[in-house]
């Protein structure tokens, strides 16, 4: 596919806009707080839109629409799962995370445990999840952009890679946030336009559209396969896409960009509205594409159905709408990967370099330089792996990221907040067992070994999440003396999590990692 001048012009416009935001943010990106969490000064409405930009990725805009067009209602689990899991994030995690954390997820855990091992294990976990997810996004971006613009895959990956590195190295979290806000507004507008145009073809009668999709000769799009193994696989998928998506580090650190717990809660309320509207549009566009184009035309263009959104745009609005939707898809990719770079670079620079290697003695200037250097390093690793992974099944990496996030982060965060007997050994064992079991079970599962799989589930979260909890418990019970992770640290953490102040009455959060 060769891009029209119009498509190229709109892509250039997106690049110019995002770079303009980056240089504007770069002038305000002076301290560590600015770089990692935009100074913690964002409002709930801004952060809510940015969370929308972070979460509603190209996977939802292109991938899940394609899944609806090719597999039907089974795809609904991919969007309803994360959405309902956000109730847990809103009601249980958002405010305590804001009150405990400073720049990264490891800061949240360090709010209770002084051990540098705890910080290191959480940082490595965040780094792994982020890089797995970033590679999956970059490979998908490279394939999509090379298809849309007719450029080489490597050129596409390098363009996205260089842009995402520049956004973070120059503009930090402030640039990321505003790029995500702009992307979210563009995405919401684009999806609303597509829904209106699709429904207009059916006299604004959604039932007529669904009936047309059902009568289009496509396979049954409104039922899901059942049985023992499909049932276990579906349950496991629901846990992974639900809890895993809600536990991704680049989503969780967004709560650290607002001034207090109240704004963290408001962020989630705004995000739920915008994400709900975006996700509710996905089945309409997916079934609409089948009704208007037929399933065969969609799978002929791409077996995965990833081009269904673009095909239906071309049909409904010609080259102008096609160019617009392609540009929005490009902006979505850029926004998502920039959120991942800031999360990964924070784990590397703030946790591993400033807090552990420099024992918290790095100056403000050194922290900013380290943050910028780390964003370049994290991006280079992701770009290098992505360049060699063109023919890799990217779903393995995507699955790995969400399953590891669910298996390591959820047990640790829940027990950190609510289990008094959790110790630093418990946190380390929990992270190690969650990450280890998730990686191992994916490596011996159907995603990698196909028909010869030793473990039957595609998403192993049904086993790996309980293993993560078990690891936390075993580490706490068997992991030796509890030294400084005593009752008082739990009580201090409770005060900070619930009230947003320290037990001495000062403002939370504080860093308790042993220097």
């Amino acid at each position: 596919m060769n891009a029209s001048p119009l498509t190229l012009a709109v892509f250039a416009g997106v690049i110019a806009l995002t770079l303009g935001i980056t240089f504007w943010a770069g002038r305000r990106n002076t301290g560590a707080g600015d770089h990692y969490v935009a100074g913690g000064r964002l409002t709930g409405s801004q952060n809510g839109l940015a969370i929308t930009g972070d979460l509603v990725s190209a996977a939802a805009f292109l991938g899940t629409v394609g899944l609806f067009a090719t597999q039907g209602v089974s795809s609904y689990f991919y969007i309803v799962g994360p959405f309902v899991a956000f109730v847990i994030l809103l009601t249980v995690l958002a405010e305590p995370l804001r009150n405990l954390g400073r720049f990264t997820m490891a800061d949240v855990v360090a709010g209770r445990f002084r051990s540098r091992g705890v910080r290191a294990s959480m940082a490595v976990n965040s780094l792994l999840v982020t890089i797995f997810y970033m590679i999956a996004q970059l490979v998908a971006a490279g394939a999509l952009i090379s298809l849309l613009l007719g450029v080489d895959y490597a050129v596409a990956v390098l363009v996205v890679g260089v842009l995402m590195t520049a956004y973070i190295a120059i503009g930090g979290m402030l640039a990321t946030t505003w790029i995500q806000i702009v992307q979210a507004v563009m995405l919401l507008g684009c999806m609303a336009l597509l829904v209106v145009l699709i429904l207009a073809r059916f006299g604004f009668d959604p039932m007529a559209m669904f009936a047309a999709a059902a009568d289009s000769g496509a396979k049954d799009l409104f039922t899901s396969p059942s049985g023992l193994l499909p049932g276990l696989d579906l349950l496991s998928l629901a846990i992974a896409v639900g809890l895993g998506t809600a536990a991704l580090p680049h989503i969780l650190i967004r709560f650290l960009t607002v001034p207090d717990g109240r704004e963290a809660r408001r962020s989630m309320n705004y995000a739920l509205v915008w994400i709900g509207l975006s996700f509710a549009a996905v089945p309409v566009i997916g079934y609409g594409a089948v009704a208007l184009l037929g399933q065969e035309a969609i799978t002929d263009a791409a077996a995965s159905g990833n081009l269904a959104t673009l095909q239906v745009s071309d049909l409904l609005g010609g080259p102008v709408l096609f160019a617009l939707v392609a540009a929005v898809a490009f902006a979505v990719i850029l926004a998502t990967v920039s959120g991942l770079v800031i999360a990964g670079s924070g784990a590397l620079a703030h946790d591993l370099y400033s807090s552990i290697l420099r024992r918290g003695r790095a100056t403000e200037r050194e922290q900013v330089v380290a943050g910028r250097a780390a964003s370049v390093a994290v991006s280079l690793v992701a770009i290098a792996v992505s360049l060699g992974a063109q023919n890799t099944n990217i779903s393995v990496l995507g699955v790995l990221a969400v399953v590891v996030a669910a298996s390591a982060n959820i047990p640790v965060l829940v027990l950190l907040l609510f289990w008094k007997r959790l110790t630093s050994a418990g946190v380390i064992w929990g992270i190690a067992s969650g990450v280890g079991s998730a990686v191992l079970l994916i490596l011996v599962g159907p995603q990698v070994l196909g028909d010869g799989a030793l473990f039957p589930l595609t998403y192993p979260s049904l086993a790996s999440v309980p293993i993560g909890f078990l690891g936390c418990w075993l580490g706490s019970v068997l992991g030796g003396r509890r030294h400084r992770d005593d009752q008082s640290s739990f009580e201090e953490m409770q005060v900070r999590a619930a009230l947003g102040v320290t037990t001495s009455g000062g403002e939370a959060p504080v860093d308790r990692t042993t220097p």
């Binding site: 209602v73 609904y76 689990f77 309803v80 799962g81 959405f83 309902v84 899991a85 956000f86 109730v87 847990i88 809103l90 009601t91 249980v92 039932m207 669904f210 009936a211 999709a213 059902a214 799009l221 409104f222 039922t223 899901s224 059942s226 049985g227 023992l228 499909p230 049932g231 276990l232 696989d233 579906l234 349950l235 629901a238 846990i239 639900g242 109240r262 809660r265 989630m268 309320n269 739920l272 509205v273 709900g276 996700f279 509710a280 089945p283 609510f418 009580e491 409770q494 005060v495 999590a497 619930a498 009230l499 947003g500 102040v501 037990t503 001495s504 009455g505």
Partner: protein
């Protein structure tokens, strides 16, 4: 309610701990049913769909129970968010009251 402190600690520390623990308990008592209804309901629909075909029957036109129940997740989450927001505003006031009381005695 702010309680009196122990003599070996700064006077306001146990007050804050007790207030934080009470607030955490109240929050959890409210949050757990919401999580159970939303995420638990989603897992129930997932299990019913995965292990049986009871949700495959068409209800309205081609739309099956599975499609409708999953769609119901959107308004359900909206209701949970509104209920939580209202209750959380009360907790904000309680928190401010606790902090005022503690700071006035420290």
């Amino acid at each position: 309610m702010v309680q009196s402190g122990r003599s070996e600690s700064p006077p306001h520390v146990p007050d804050l701990v007790a207030a934080a623990q009470a607030m955490t308990r109240r929050r959890l008592r409210f949050a757990l049913p919401l999580c159970l209804v939303s995420f638990g309901g989603f897992m129930l629909v997932t299990a019913l769909s995965g292990f049986s075909d009871v949700l495959d029957a068409p209800v309205v036109g081609p739309l099956t129970w599975l499609f409708l129940l999953l769609t119901l997740g959107f308004p359900l989450v909206g209701v949970c968010a509104v209920l939580y927001r209202r209750r959380a505003e009360q907790w904000d006031e309680e928190r401010a009251e606790v902090l005022r009381a503690v700071r006035s005695t420290s």
